[in-house]
Symmetry: C2
Subunit: 419 residues, 2 copies
């Protein structure tokens, strides 16, 4: 394994050269490389798990929790999963070359707006080393070179995975610099990546709220903000209450640690008496701690008194904040005040309520009679997901391959000049 740490600007220059090459590759060439990368991961499983063992041993020495160590671990099954992910990406349509708009102007000029790769994509991510293969595959398929910065705790695993991927890409005829790892200890390498304006076209942080905030604040490279989710379920006066209960339980408990899990339940006052006793009891049975306002606590003395911190919280745990609201508009106002713009759900049989809720909440996704958990690239049929954008610029909501591209206008004439 190469131990030399190449400075980020030099990595960036190499990535730009690779990007110019990748931009003109056909889908067939890129897919062949993705399949070769998948095969190579499986062939080199033992080298990767050996590197991972070193990371895990170091984490243990440092007293890392078993939960984090579990995320860090790469066993044969996970490596097979990474390979499967790359094969799946190979099977997806190539976004590059898609004509987004095309038309002829009155003067005969032909205008075509086409998807082209971004160029160089930077990804900064936390513990899970399987992100390394996922991100590399998505970037490559969309014709981009990628600079990957994982956490120091996974440094050996990430280096082993990138070495295998880059070698496979090269064997398949693509530039080895299509996939590069940003190495080095501490915060400095990530900082350099954030300052590589002109070399890196977009930076996508994948991880916790702290990581994302620091990238958004420090980066001069354009950033796509991802993932912080304070998602709400609003049970309307016209809700099917049995449906509402299933949706609340699913949104809260099916996988509480992810950004599209629900964190707050808002219940219309008209149905509070019929809904809340069952809902609070079902949540408790499911192991959920309820933090409620006074109107909620009136139904159940065991409910913890909620503070503003609860309305703002992305718990990522078996906790939920619950409030009674007097109207749909009050629910929307609560969401606009406390939400993170990720996903909100309404449960209602009323078309008017559904129309108003979807029009007035200001979030990346709105679910009508469905769990917040569906805000997910795989679930929405994108085939792959690079993250969930909670910003409004460029991409909003789950990001698939097209979100890793930009467009160019190609205008064709016969000597056209302006008069």
């Amino acid at each position: 394994m190469d131990d030399v740490t190449i400075p980020v600007p030099e990595l960036g220059r190499r990535a730009r050269v690779a990007a110019a090459d990748l931009a003109v590759r056909t889908r067939a060439e890129k897919d062949a490389a993705l399949l070769a990368m998948a095969d190579a991961l499986e062939v080199h499983t033992s080298a990767i798990t050996a590197a991972n063992d070193a990371d895990v041993a170091r984490a243990r020495e440092n007293g890392t929790s078993e939960a984090i160590i579990d995320r860090l671990r790469l066993d044969e099954a996970r490596i097979t999963g990474m390979a499967g992910g790359l094969r799946q990406v190979a099977g997806l349509p190539d976004p590059v070359g898609e004509v987004v708009r095309g038309y002829a102007l009155p003067n005969g000029l032909q205008v075509s707006q086409r998807r082209v790769p971004m160029g160089v994509v930077g990804i900064i991510y936390e513990a899970r080393p399987n992100v390394t293969a996922d991100a590399a595959g998505l970037a490559l398929k969309s014709g981009n070179a990628v600079l990957l910065r994982g956490s120091s705790s996974a440094a050996s695993s990430n280096a082993a995975v990138v070495e295998v991927l880059a070698a496979a890409a090269q064997t398949a005829g693509l530039p080895a610099e299509a996939v590069q790892l940003v190495r080095g200890e501490g915060h400095e390498p990530a900082k350099q990546l954030m300052r590589a304006r002109g070399l890196v076209d977009v930076l996508v942080p994948r991880g916790g709220a702290g990581l994302i905030r620091s990238v958004v604040e420090e980066s001069t490279v354009p950033v796509i903000e991802t993932g912080v989710g304070n998602c709400h379920v609003y049970v309307d006066a016209d809700a099917d209450l049995a449906q509402a209960l299933q949706i609340v339980l699913n949104a809260k408990t099916q996988r509480p640690s992810v950004c599209n899990a629900a964190e707050t339940l808002l219940v219309h006052a008209d149905v509070a008496a019929r809904f809340l006793p069952d809902a609070l009891s079902a949540l408790r049975t499911a192991g959920v701690t309820v933090h409620g306002d006074d109107r909620v606590r009136a139904y159940d003395a065991d409910v913890v008194a909620a503070t503003d911190d609860d309305w703002a919280a992305e718990y990522l745990s078996l906790d939920i904040a619950v409030a009674v609201v007097d109207s749909l508009d009050d629910a929307v106002a609560h969401i606009r005040t406390w939400g993170s713009g990720h996903t909100e759900a309404i449960v209602t049989r009323s078309l008017a309520a559904s129309r108003r809720f979807t029009a007035t909440t200001d979030s990346a996704a709105v679910m009508v009679n469905a769990s917040t958990r569906f805000t997910d690239g795989e679930q929405l049929g994108f085939g792959a997901e690079i993250g969930i954008s909670t910003q409004k610029l460029h991409a909003r909501g789950p990001m698939g391959l097209p979100e890793l591209t930009t467009t160019t206008y190609v205008v064709t004439g016969e000597g056209h000049v302006r008069g």
Copy 2:
């Protein structure tokens, strides 16, 4: 006129309230307001020109050049032009509500990705006070509230225009805070606007390279970078040389002060001897100063020796840098090294050359046998233009109304939960 300077954060909060209201307005309501704003500008022409006279007088006292004073001036004709611009925007389709993608998932969930307003748009611009009405109209039509920061030299004119526009919007039933001016002396108000993350959704600087650079570097609000154009015309070995000459002259001289004017001419060595003597002579006749490399100067001793500064220059004047290149790929390499990613043109009869040039230059627009001057929202049929983006995120090339929107996913089910 209101003399009180409201701090930017408070303006931002008012704008957010207005934005929530604007987001649910119909096209009919917005168009009625735009037409009322247009009428109001004409009705209040004398108040606006009086305010403008004060700005012009102050500029004169400060020794401002006549060229800048001409850009600053608002006479009756220009105010009629501003009103006409608003009426034209009223006639354009409303981007809000457009379903960008929509489909049903295998599980029966209906997915629809819809255009929605950004929310609050900030525009920072230089001398021309007519931008005030243009920007307000485009923001309003796309359902956004707008915070306008013009230059101090146009403070009275901008205040008068905004007062008229806001009052007309209010009379038409929209919130007066849909259009607000950021007042105050010096750089501080603009700085506050750049730091209003969470209140302002996107910032668009319109002006010179210095303004744009400072906004890109200082802003924590997402920025759309606009306008710096070091545009190239490449005359291929297979060019129709008569066509090439017309395109070069048009791209360079039709309006040299704008970002889509050509700044560099690259000529394939195979046609240099046939093309350059005529081209250099025609350029000189048109008053253009040529800065050339040694191979160009071999044809004409009067050509000024070009330095790296010339290859990098956005002259915005009757100057052009000219180089001879040995291949199309060398032309592209020159453009990738020195260009600003705005617009490049190729003149060729070869389909292969056209294909390669469009695939390998990395710019917002590529013209084939047409002048670089066509990279323009009006020319491309957008009906209006907020600026020309030279960044890759969100919008690239001329920006029309859809570029002032984002999207939201609306997912409708019948109690769908994840298994």
